[in-house]
Amino acid sequence: MKQIESVVVRFSGDSGDGMQLTGTQFSNTSALMGNDLATFPDFPAEIRAPQGTVAGVSGFQVNIGSVKVNTPGDEPDVLVAMNPAALKANIKDLRLGGTLIVNIDSFTDLAFKKAEYESNPLDTPQFEQYQVIKAHISSQTKEALSELDLDTKSKERCKNFYALGMTFFMYARDLEPTKKWIQEKFKNKDVLIQANTMALVAGFHFAETIEAIGDRYQVKPAPIDKGLYRQINGNTALSWGFMFAAENSGHELYLGSYPITPASDILHELSKHKNFGVKTFQAEDEIAAVCSSVGASFGGALAITTSSGPGIALKSEAMNLAMMLELPIVIIDVQRGGPSTGLPTKTEQSDLNMAMYGRNGESPVIVLAAAHPSDCFEMAFEAARLSLEHMTPVVLLSDGYIANGSEPWKIPDISKYPKIKSKLVKKELGESEVYLPYKRDENLVRTWATPGMKGYMHRVGGLEKEEDTGNVSYDPENHERMIEIREEKVKLVQNNIPKQKLLGEDKGDLLIVSWGGTYGATYQAVSAQIEQGNKVSLMHLNYINPMPKNVDEILKGFKKIIVCELNGGQMKDLLNKEFSCMAEGYTKMQGKPFMIRELSGMMEKALEDIKLS
């Protein structure tokens, strides 16, 4: 058996073929075997596009390693294609020389037509560049299950486990975790437990038997920190981060939401945990969702709202109201391809400008971004902490890539987190005391009194208010002062966030700047440059507004600054506006994450340019 550092496998098939499940089983098994890994599910925008068409292809890519793995991998080493449409949609990504496993039973004239192939593509010379394994996945599965009392259709439905079994043999995966999973999944349905287990084993044995599979590979456990691990995806991590912040701060969690891809899973996850006192409300629209959260925040909740670009656009007026009222609320934007409805199931980072500037009037809010799936837990906690401690809306940016992607996560010790100190007033106001709802502390933060508290009755509203009292004021000088106060209040958050860290030296030739879900790719690409001895560093921003105090100093330490982002250059523009740092942009807008080799090529060229200048 050959040892390899890492391997990238992509499972692809019709959206009804169970490819997400297959990929998840491969990932979970690998995690249990001690590998580091990252996953990337890629599903179509349509729920069930016509069977066999390219529009209906669903994919799941996983990168497993005996080394640190930061991304799902640039290109698959192994591609499993359950039908011609899956082949068509994915073959261009397969590494030259890589392994292609096809379900040859599905390669029929009708299927070619549906996939818009004129004839069997496997007969073309293009496929000589790959190691092609033509497996009779459907018929072999049915054959293996012939003894079972089950209809043919149900038997064929087990074919994804047959394909999984094949890959398990190739990479010496343990069958036990999947067998256990099947037993739990199909509890009380013995025939289905038998069928799926038999298909899995049959695939494994088939791969063992045929000679088409040359070498068998082993991916040893990765050298990762000691501790207890689990797998987590971004949307779950984010949900749990807020639940933890609620427990930590003593404010009940309230989510007002409206379903939207790719954010809905946060609503689903939080709706499960009513025994934690989590309140979720599926509103009639995006506006009602955020408005209900503003109401809950007025009432003293840790109030959040979740959406994606088009929904955030609808929420902007209510976000501005919360900014004006100075109430805590976290607005989560799981970004997807825009503009308008755009690419709902694809990833992009193009809502930064909207988060920063997308409201009427002067409307500063805190803006944060999560870097990778498990970081969503940390940043959710941070978003809640800053919102509650500074009485201001926080926009937390995630994206489709980290929301659905998963990775192993060392389960954090929650007793080590700081205690969130909200601005809630003490229970009762003395008879002679007068409550001033907009009186501020040294950080310009007001206190928080909520309906039901005796003595603190006050009115808030979207009209401009007088300092301290909060009474309506149309006074021109007061208005200007209030704008400055609200601006300064958000700037002062700088004192409450960590200093910006760097990967690499704090001075050098090239500074790569990234933010949000591109972290895995930029981290790995910059690490490789550093290993080669190049003077490249990475500044990955999690705190976007305000930025950490030392960002200015960092930017001054490099000859060239390149901002890598999945949009038209929004962070680059922001940095140049704030710091006049002459940053250049490296952008991609294909609904897909950066590939490491794209970034490496870009950096090599930039270093060349620096040498020449």
């Binding site: 009639e284 408005c291 109401g295 039901g452």
Partner: protein, 334 residues
């Protein structure tokens, strides 16, 4: 509830009230404050939420908690507040523009869910704050700044809108009748569910005397019928008119034509069929009903079911532990 005798003053504050002189809003504000004092709810347990419009300035003049939110969204804000703080007495202030135009969706859904809140809908059939454009309840042909040749819109009937949404409490009252307003507000507050109260309100500047038919001493008795549950629907200055059932509908009749009081229809706010007939009575064809049109005592409120579901999960699973959640599912040690 409190032992201390509350007065209107407990629900007022030191801010100057800034509606136009003669505006019907003053009377509604005063009646609301008096109703709250009579209900006996303490000001700190009251939250008044409004949207945008003349009427929506209302919370600024209250001695309770209040929020002047954004246009049309008060029902959504109030929903979140009530779900988080179920013990609060939540009142929504809206108008025909705020509630039925820009905020129609939220009004529909709060009524559908039957949140236990009180909604006072100020209906003056005009946009006042933006200085006089027609509203979704304006009568066809109304000449306004935005309809110089007459409005072409078919108007909403707030009553039919609310009933269509499954309203469990619907009442109509008039800004010139403080006593009636106070009684209606109190009854609305006592109802468990979304209580919608349409107030015929006069905009003295842009749509003066729009409800004159029902407010003018000379004409009001002939044009409106005061509803009282269990009593015959009788009206007119001489108490000589009423309604009978005919052709599956209500028909206005005069006693002098040989009808007796016993033959007149008695009001029953829980009778769905009758309620819809009442909502269909329009000023063009008959007297309009004033009072509590509908009361449905059978429907659950969303907020109580919401809290009960949380409690049942707590009972079934015990209070959640973050530590256990983090450890749930498959884990492995390195």
């Amino acid at each position: 509830m409190t032992d201390k005798k509350l007065t209107k003053k407990d629900f007022s504050n030191d801010q100057a009230v800034k509606w136009c002189p003669g505006c019907g809003d003053y009377a509604i504000l005063s009646a609301t404050q008096m109703a709250m004092a009579q209900i006996g709810v303490e000001p700190h347990n009251v939250a008044v939420i409004s949207g945008i419009g003349c009427s929506s300035r209302f919370p600024y003049y209250m001695g309770s908690y209040g929020m002047h939110s954004i246009h049309g969204r008060a029902p959504a804000v109030a929903t979140g507040l009530k779900l988080h703080n179920p013990d609060l007495s939540v009142w929504i202030i809206t108008g025909d523009g705020d509630g039925l135009s820009i905020g129609g969706n939220h009004l529909a859904h709060i009524i559908r869910r039957n949140m236990n809140v009180n909604i006072i809908l100020f209906n003056n059939e005009i946009y006042g704050l933006t200085k006089g454009q027609y509203s979704p309840t304006s009568k066809p042909g109304l000449t306004t700044k935005s309809t110089p040749y007459g409005s072409l819109d078919r108007p909403f009937s707030p009553a039919r809108f609310a009933l269509g949404c499954g309203s469990t409490f619907y009442a109509r009252t008039i800004d010139t009748d403080p006593k009636h307003m106070i009684e209606v507000f109190k009854e609305a507050n006592a109802h468990e569910g979304t209580s919608v109260i349409e107030v015929y309100q006069n905009c003295v500047i842009f749509n003066d005397k729009v409800h004159d038919k029902y407010t003018n001493r000379k004409t009001r008795d002939e044009n409106s019928v005061r509803l009282e549950a269990g009593k015959p629907m009788i009206f007119g200055a001489e108490k000589d008119k009423g309604f009978i059932f005919e052709d599956f509908n209500l028909k206005e009749v005069e006693l002098k034509d040989g009808y007796t009081e016993e033959q007149l229809v008695k009001h029953d706010p829980t009778n769905q069929g009758l309620v819809h007939m009442l909502a269909n009575l329009s000023p063009e064809t008959s007297a309009v009903p004033i009072g509590v049109l509908k009361k449905d005592l059978t429907a659950h409120t969303y907020d109580s079911s919401f809290q009960a579901q949380i409690q049942s999960q707590k009972d079934a699973k015990g209070p959640g532990s973050m530590k256990d959640l983090l450890m749930s599912g498959e884990t492995w040690s390195v």
